[in-house]
């Protein structure tokens, strides 16, 4: 995975925050995710296929997920229920979908899978050695979260 491939996904996060969440977000340093990582309570994943292969993962503490989905809906939300898991699935869909068009221009589009959301207080994500995952921590007015992406473009 080329390091610049992460940039459209970072841009998408910024776009999501400015357009739909009306909140500030700041990115941390881009790093390589290796071995095992202990993610936050909720991880939303979506696959990319077609002209590219990859996976986009957004990992949120419960409080961040509740705050972000509440902001999207424009209401006060306090419980982490299926509305929140549905909402973070939609958020990863928006981040991945909005980024993928930057890679293809007028060529064949990249397809998205349906999102999946994992929730738990004690799980790890392992990175198989053949795939390089880049990760970016974010701090926002709605709380911290992480973006992880593995992405290869077909020639």
């Amino acid at each position: 995975m080329k390091i610049e491939y992460i940039n459209p996904f970072i841009d998408s996060v910024h776009k999501l925050f400015s357009a739909m969440l009306g909140s500030k977000v700041e990115q941390g340093q881009i790093g390589v995710a290796k071995g095992k990582s202990v993610p936050f309570e909720l991880t939303a994943l979506i696959g990319l296929s077609g002209m590219a292969r990859g996976t986009v993962a957004l990992s949120f503490p419960g409080e961040t997920a509740v705050a972000m989905v509440g902001k999207m809906l424009g209401i006060e939300v306090s419980t982490l229920d299926e509305t929140i898991t549905d909402g973070v699935g939609e958020i990863v869909n928006i981040v991945a979908g909005s980024a993928k068009s930057k890679f293809t221009g007028d060529g064949s589009p990249i397809d998205l899978s349906l999102p999946n959301v994992i929730r738990g207080d004690n799980y790890t994500i392992e990175y198989p050695s053949q795939a390089v995952w880049l990760e970016v921590p974010f701090e926002s007015e709605l709380g911290p979260f992480n973006l992880r992406v593995t992405f290869e473009l077909d020639n």
Partner: protein, 120 residues
């Protein structure tokens, strides 16, 4: 005025219902995939507008647009999707969608798009 919101995300359906309400449409029906949307239209439900997602289980939004047009319906349809590639926009318009908005969108932009499409 009555609208149909088609999206597999309950959160996005609520966001879109809020936008419809701000555009003056409060009578809103919902569908969680393209298949349900096509059945609702074919059953004779009368809608003035349909908001349609792209990626959904069972039937994609683009296939639902094709099926709705094949059934002879001329209800205005706005695609509300993350699909930003030019080829996707062309594909949707060829299938019979009337308008297109890309997620993420500003709240005011979706309200305007709805008003433009229904001629309000």
């Amino acid at each position: 005025m009555k609208a149909l919101v088609v999206d597999d995300s309950e959160v996005m359906r609520k966001v879109l219902m809020g936008a419809l309400s701000r555009a003056g449409i409060t009578d809103v029906d919902q569908a969680g995939d393209g298949n349900i949307a096509v059945e609702k239209v074919k059953s004779g439900e009368e809608y003035d507008l349909i908001l349609m997602d792209w990626y959904m289980p069972n039937m994609l939004g683009i296939e639902a647009v094709q099926a709705i047009r094949a059934a002879g319906s001329t209800i205005p349809i706005i695609m509300v999707t993350t699909e930003a590639e030019k080829s996707r926009v062309i594909e949707a318009l060829k299938a019979g969608a009337n308008n297109y908005i890309i997620k993420p969108f500003e709240p005011a932009a979706i309200v305007q798009k709805i008003k433009d499409t229904i001629g309000g």
